[in-house]
């Protein structure tokens, strides 16, 4: 047990840096307003704590900016050209992290042009973090077998600090990222700092055995970070870190966006409908009339469910589907 706990761990932090959401979060009308400045100072303290816990610990920081994702810091190579001047009063690795992260964030925020803000590129940052973890877990000469490589570096994990709401168009990419995280044995932790719960990230944390924490007292951010997200997953088994219990695994139908308990699924493109339909609206496949009659007789009279608060699957499948190319011939 000791030897396992003593191993170094890797942490990739994804910062959601949407200017609008941070502005909203800092308003004084909130119960616990949190400005981006105080967020950053608490975050840097947390990052320093991670580096300080163990000399071999590695760290990477990714930023999700509107329409763009950027790697802000890695401990494996220098991203800024000139290293910060040495200061006798600070530990050089801490100073390196602090200056690099703040400088990069400032640079990116300055580059944002005023105008309509595109949604935050959380997916880009997440996939970049996965690619980075894939790269450091696999030695450069190793095989393509992912499972073998993951033994080199125990406990890689991703921490997402989220302020933006779910983006329904990113459902499929996020699910893909979750499945690849499962494959790489990466734990995804989520800390929701501002805004309503995000269903996608709840599922991400649940499916990768991470913890999802909704921040109730935003002024206590650092405490939450240190208590729940600093220990690596192996240690957490002992610590009983709070975990999310109720996760919505039900699906919304594509036709009326209702949540359904029992749905009808197209066998070609897996679109979900709340009632038997003659033609799939996504891939234009026609269904045999016999099956329709059979299903209709089996169908419980559908009581219209209240619309789902966060439309989960609604726009998840793009309408321009490639599945149509070979529509079924011989079908009238």
């Amino acid at each position: 047990m000791d030897s396992e706990v003593d191993k170094p761990s890797h942490l990739s932090v994804i910062l959601d840096l949407s200017p609008t959401q941070w502005y909203l979060s800092a308003r004084a009308t909130n119960p616990y307003p949190l400005t981006i400045g105080s967020f950053l100072s608490q975050l840097l303290a947390f990052l320093n704590a991670h580096i300080g816990t163990k000399n071999e610990n590695t760290l990477a920081v990714f930023g999700a900016f509107p329409g763009k994702s950027v790697m802000l810091y890695t401990s494996t190579e220098a991203l800024v050209d000139e290293p910060p001047p040495l200061d006798a009063n600070s530990y050089p690795p801490f100073r390196m992290v602090d200056t690099t992260v703040t400088r990069q964030i400032l640079r990116e925020l300055d580059a944002i042009e005023p105008g309509d803000e595109p949604p935050c590129a959380l997916v880009g940052a997440l996939t970049k973090a996965l690619c980075y973890i894939n790269r450091i877990t696999l030695p450069s000469t190793s095989s393509t077998n992912v499972a073998e490589g993951s033994t080199h570096l125990p406990d890689p994990r991703i921490l997402i600090l989220s302020v933006s709401p779910d983006l329904s168009s990113s459902y499929i990419p996020i699910m893909n990222a979750i499945f690849s995280a499962q494959k790489l044995k990466v734990t995804i932790d989520v800390c929701k700092i501002y805004g309503a719960d995000t269903v996608f990230l709840q599922q991400a944390a649940h499916l990768t055995n991470g913890s999802y924490i909704y921040l109730e007292r935003r002024d206590a951010l650092l405490q939450y970070l240190i208590m729940s997200f600093l220990p690596p997953p192996l240690v957490r088994k002992v610590l009983t870190v709070p975990r999310q219990d109720k996760i919505d695994f039900r699906a919304a139908c594509f036709c009326h966006k209702n949540i359904v308990d029992v749905g009808f699924v197209c066998s070609v493109c897996l679109s979900i409908f709340c009632q038997p339909v003659p033609v799939c609206s996504t891939c234009r496949t026609k269904f045999p009339i016999k099956a329709l009659q059979r299903l209709k007789s089996a169908c419980p009279s559908p009581a219209p469910a209240p619309p789902r608060p966060l439309a989960n699957l609604n726009n998840a499948v793009p309408r321009t589907t490639e599945a149509t190319n070979h529509s079924t011939p011989g079908l009238r």
Binding site: M71, E77, K128, T141, T144, I172, M175, G263, C299, L331
Partner: protein, 437 residues
Amino acid sequence: MDVDSDSDISVFGDEDPRVKGKGKGKASEKPKKGKVKRKAKEQAYTWEASYTRSWDTVQEDETGSLQGAVEDLMARDRRRRLLAPAAAIRRTIIRHLVLILDLSNSMMDRDFRPTRFDLTLRYAREFVTEWFDQNPLGQIGVVGMRSGLGERIGEMSGNPQDVLRSLSDRAKLEPTGEPSLKNAIEMARGSMSHLPTQSSREILIVFGSLTTCDPGNIHETLEVCTKSRIRISVVALAAEMKICRELSDKTGGKFGVAMNEGHFKDLLFELVPPPAQHATIRNAGSGSGLPPADLMMMGFPTRLPDTSPPSLCACHSDLKSEGFLCPRCMAKVCDVPTDCDICGLMIVSSPHLARSYHHLFPVKPYEAVASLDYTSQSTSACHACARPFPAAHLSGVVTEGLSPLGRYRCPDCHHDFCTECDVFVHDVVHCCPGCGK
């Protein structure tokens, strides 16, 4: 498959494996050998090449290091895999597969290390894991051929753990006697006869023997299989047999003879991605005339939290607190996806459906970058993992889709990616880090 050209030799040389087993064993001890050999233009069976001088194909670079040569070989290998599927095709998402394993005496041959049997078991387990990962809604059953009988080893199940458990006990599967193709196929067919039309019915045979002892005419079996649209794929370990070739050709499956350990694995894993549905094959083979598209009724269960009061589950009668409730009959099952044990409703959770979406919406293949001249703003590091690109040596042409600069560019977002990320993005993540979709 360029296996075909070689395969006729082996019909006459089928005694060779036992004779030359020793020599070949020594040669194959080099771990890299499998890969290097596949590179060679004329491919030979393991037993034919008594000593392959695999080190001859690897050239040292100026500094005397082998690093560059090895990386080059591997990078090319990876690129080739990526180049194949680009067009949008309709695939079978709901699959049913019966894995037929040869458990006859001939599986004890040592031409694959340690024995054909052990290697087959190992690869079968890896195959099952990978298969369920890519086909979360599929089901696998396992049938063994030994002592002239078909033997049910694992029931058709959608739970990878069940299937792996049936393959885990080596002692129970000890090879003996003669194999019987007809018996095994009939048994597999029987377990798939009740399946709905929209799901695929597949049989994968790992065949190590060169004979089959059947109680009747196997061509009748083949005809029935063609009629009920069962796709039979065969991976032969010894040599090509006419009947095996016919089985797979007539049913639209794949046939391959494994030449060495690496090739065996390749042949198996080729069958992991969902097969494309070809209109021609479907029309030719559709005896019933039913179209394979259908609406399926599925239930989305409620997940009980770990803190709920414990109760008995319907599937194992175990006392548990966590579980899933069938939305129709409210029975509690341990794991999804499954068919409800009480009312037979198919129970899935939305992540299971989402897991299949990447087959339907694949990432566009990246283009290999040949030179840097027209990219003024090109970055010096991989867009995804920030690995710096090797210093540009501008004397390159794109060979076999391999960029001389180690850069691959997304056609949509025009970002450059390194070789490793290129493979990782297309094989695992299925989402371009640049475009975010």
